[in-house]
């Protein structure tokens, strides 16, 4: 059995461990809630992470480079980017997957000598980690843009109100 088939067959066990690893970055009381409530509107963070990693996992197993990966990553990172985590803490969940796979498939990898396949997969996970940092930066930039825009709009309205603006009129 090659690694991809093996991963597919063990998908639910791997996802569960990956999810547990990610939610363990929250305080205990929070992580137990994130695990138990399965309504996406009552538990937006937990369910977004769960659906996000499900999608990411499928994308990683595909042969070709994925178009969907950025959006799955974005959903999770957009949340973690405003939850008080450092940049590394916000994005490290991608790397957690390496440990999860090594632990979950330890025996099979050894038995079937899947080290080459594993190295290839881990290279893809590294790419995902790099991509996640780009997305993290974008989220933070958006946040500061929003802050700046609020101030800009307020100033513009103040000037307009004070009749201090004289815009060029269209001919």
């Amino acid at each position: 059995m090659n690694l991809i088939n093996l991963l597919s067959s063990k998908k639910s066990a791997i996802l569960k461990r990956w999810f547990d690893e990610i939610v363990s970055t929250y305080p205990d009381a929070t992580s137990s809630f994130l695990k138990t409530q399965d309504d996406p509107f009552a538990n937006p963070v937990g369910q977004t992470i769960l659906h996000g990693i499900d999608g990411l996992f499928d994308e990683l197993l595909k042969d070709t480079d994925s178009n969907e990966m950025p959006s799955f990553l974005d959903n999770i990172i957009r949340i973690r980017a405003v939850q008080g985590f450092t940049p590394s803490q916000s994005t490290a969940f991608t790397i957690f997957l390496k440990k999860v796979i090594r632990e979950e498939l330890k025996d099979e990898i050894k038995e079937d000598q899947l080290y080459n396949d594993l190295a290839a997969l881990e290279a893809r996970i590294d790419k995902m980690a790099l991509l996640s940092f780009d997305i993290y930066m974008k989220c933070r930039e958006t946040l500061y843009e929003i802050k700046a825009n609020e101030v800009k709009n307020m100033t513009f309205n103040l000037l307009r109100r004070a009749n201090m603006l004289s815009e060029v009129q269209e001919e």
């Binding site: 996406p40 009552a42 977004t48 949340i79 590394s88 803490q89 440990k99 929003i146 109100r161």
Partner: protein, 540 residues
Amino acid sequence: MANIKLPKPEELSKIDHKPPQKRWMDTPAEFKQGMYCYGAKGKNLSAVDFPNARDWSPDDKDWKLPENWKEIVLEGMKERLGKYRSFHIFMDICVRCGACADKCHFFLGGGDPKNMPVLRAELLRSIYRKYFTASGKMLGKVAGARELTEDVLKELWYYYYQCTECRRCSLFCPYGIDQAEITMIGRELLNLLGLNTDWISGPVANCYMKGNHLGLEPHAIKNNIDFMVDDIETITGIKIEPSFNRKGAEILFVTPSGDLFGDPGIYTCMGYLMLFHELGLDYTWSTYASEGGNFGFFTSMEMAKRLNSKIYAEAKRLGVKWILGGECGHMWRIINQYMDTWNGPADFLEEPVSPITGTRFENAKATKMVHIIEFVADLIKHGKLKFDPGRNDQFKVTFHDSCNTARGMGIFEEPRYIIKNVCNNFYEMPENTIRERTFCCGSGSGLNAGENMELRMRGGLPRANAVRYVHERHGVNLLANVCAIDRAALPALMDYWVPGVKVAGVHELLGNALIMKGEKERTTDLRGDALPGKEGNEDA
């Protein structure tokens, strides 16, 4: 070099990720940038005679507290325990069942356990137990009691300004414990030490001195409305002539000043102006009672009462019969729940009757003040208004129930009824995120500042998550609401979580669709954007 043991990748990625395994009492609040507002300025505190007026910053180690600060807090607590039976009960009866724990938008979006309402209340309860109960005095921590120290005080400040007083948690509490009231008292106690925020105390001082949060003086208010009148004339060809401070008008109209100034609030205000003109309503604006909102409510009951009193005073001075109020959230909570007790009885006013339909607003018998949404729903029900909902066809609309009008006064159907009459495309968000279970915008109760943007994004996540659902499923691109703080805060929330969704007051949509007598063919909506099918004709 050879002796250095490099951490493995998974070890590296584990650093600091696990939160400390200490009890909450032993984990002091860690102040994180983006999570709190700037401290109040001394001049704004002294303008309204608030205690300990001085410039201060939460970033400083020294908060410039008075020497006897502890005594002040405990005395203040004692006074309020005696004065407010509800507060006393809320301090005593929680059984920590946890029903509220996962209902707070700040907890859901941020994951900080101290944002669980039960724990947020416990921050104050632990002090109550220590100084006001026998078990707490004797058993201390075992009985859930703790000393009031400066760290504890700072923790209270940090978390009581991470509650928007939205009352979603209280909906699920089997005892009906109202966390909003606990937060209000908590903030009152902090206020006794001058621990206020700039974003709240500035508007309070402005409102006290000038009549509105923004400090708009009478001529500025008139100028702003004149701007809108000009824009309305450009769009509809109709010249509206509103009156200001007019004695003898039948109705006084009061709305939050955000509608006079902020984008997109001004479009809602244009909607009011068009509606009143079309009805030929005998009403007046006031440049003194020029604020429906009341940031005093986020400092102390007494301050809220002082700011609120100008509405009746102005109604009396102008000799109106009753008062009509614009779209706002906490303004209505105050009117509905407190105004009559604080500043009533308004026996110089009459029970409001719609001059157009004759409908008697019995629900406003005590306060004499009617919500514009009820007023307009009644007009539509009686067929008094004509609409072209096609002029809103560029929008796919959903409606965000404001916490205060929904949970505070039960306004659920009227705004939906109006929207369905003026728009062709309306989609509800999921049931457990609307009506009485609505999620807060994350910026209420004076938290809609700029410096605490991260907090706002966290708190607004559950609301945005539901908007995103209808955005992806139905293509919703407009989030309608009936609250000025929503209009100020939700655009930023949408820009971060659901780009492509605009925010509008219900009366902006009404203004777009309202067919006015003698109007020219419209080519744009109130924002100046081309109407569907009229692209390229904006200047016509």
